[in-house]
Symmetry: C2
Subunit: 198 residues, 2 copies
């Protein structure tokens, strides 16, 4: 009654966006329909275009507009090192730092039997095939430090061992610029057990 039906539908559906509650959804809908109809049109078009164009890279399972992504197609990347990440967003974060010059494999999730997510869902058969076919010598495990992320890392290290490939795990410890006083205890214990010669 308060808003026309199409407006209520739009408000409801905008709540599908992560971090958007009823108030923000209403604010967004009003902004789009009352004040920025051009912008609204652009958003609808950009979503349609992205849905149409963006698929999955057949090599690394990252986002790609062709069958393969730019990184997998690039000749200048080190083909012997493979970094395993949970999501395309994690891949983007690593790329932004530009410290890593190898290639990627995107799990698009983490092992979680309770949600029915097993090796199949994470594309492990594809990964095994890469380990067999390509000349990969190191697997860098960059999954998150959640329980599932650690379990996934453990699973992958066992898998790599069976293929005779070395695995490494990115370092966990006190963030740069971070103060000991404000670091949680599990990070601090990681920092101590992972200490290096100085």
């Amino acid at each position: 009654m308060i808003f026309p039906p199409a407006m209520n539908t739009l408000i409801d559906i905008l709540r599908k966006l992560p971090g958007v509650g009823p108030k923000s959804a209403q604010r967004m809908a009003l902004q789009l329909i009352q004040h920025d109809r051009t912008g609204a049109k652009q958003i609808a078009q950009a979503i349609d275009q992205a849905l149409e164009r963006i698929g999955s890279c057949e090599i690394c399972r990252g986002l790609a507009e062709q069958t393969q992504c730019d990184i997998c197609q690039s000749q200048s990347r080190d083909a012997t090192v493979l970094c395993i990440v949970e999501s395309a967003a994690d891949m983007a974060v690593v790329e932004q730092v530009s410290i890593f010059k190898g290639r990627y494999f995107v799990l698009r999730g983490k092992l979680s039997p309770i949600d029915g997510i097993g090796p199949e869902e994470l594309g492990i058969p594809l990964l095994v095939k890469r380990l067999e076919d390509e000349n990969i010598t190191e697997l860098i495990l960059a999954t998150n430090t959640t329980v599932e992320g650690e379990a996934t890392a453990h699973y992958l290290s066992e898998l790599a061992k069976s293929q005779g490939v070395k695995t490494t795990r990115i370092a966990h410890g006190v963030p740069m610029g971070g103060e000991l006083e404000f670091v949680d205890s599990s990070t601090l214990s990681q920092a101590f057990s992972g200490r290096r010669d100085y």
Copy 2:
């Protein structure tokens, strides 16, 4: 380079939404394209439908799917009292409380000469016509208490006076459940100057 072009376009364009910065836009885009393609399609469709269906009510300038909104068409609303609000969102807020049974006029802004917003842009000629044609006896000014909102209220009260229509302003004071200690000084001074017999 990090994301495919269509993804970058989507991320940029999602930043047009109010309250969405670069990080949230990226999170939204990844969520839509990687994990919720059905939801993404629904959002694009809902935006298109809302743009197509929702226009402005020819009587009150609120949102409407027909030429007139439900409230203006309703026979059960008191046609002698008109509540003036700045936006359709404000109208929705008043409706949600259901204390007001009259009709509305939506300014879709507030007087702001510096932004080139004068009486024309706020639909004042339409309001004047309503005051002349309809049997309106009271104009409730519910514009915001910003400088522009107050200036708009003052302008409207002068206008109504020239048409012989009574104007009232919604009360401003300490919010219900609010504690004096935490009320700002201008609200408190409003609360004192607007005190009523008890």
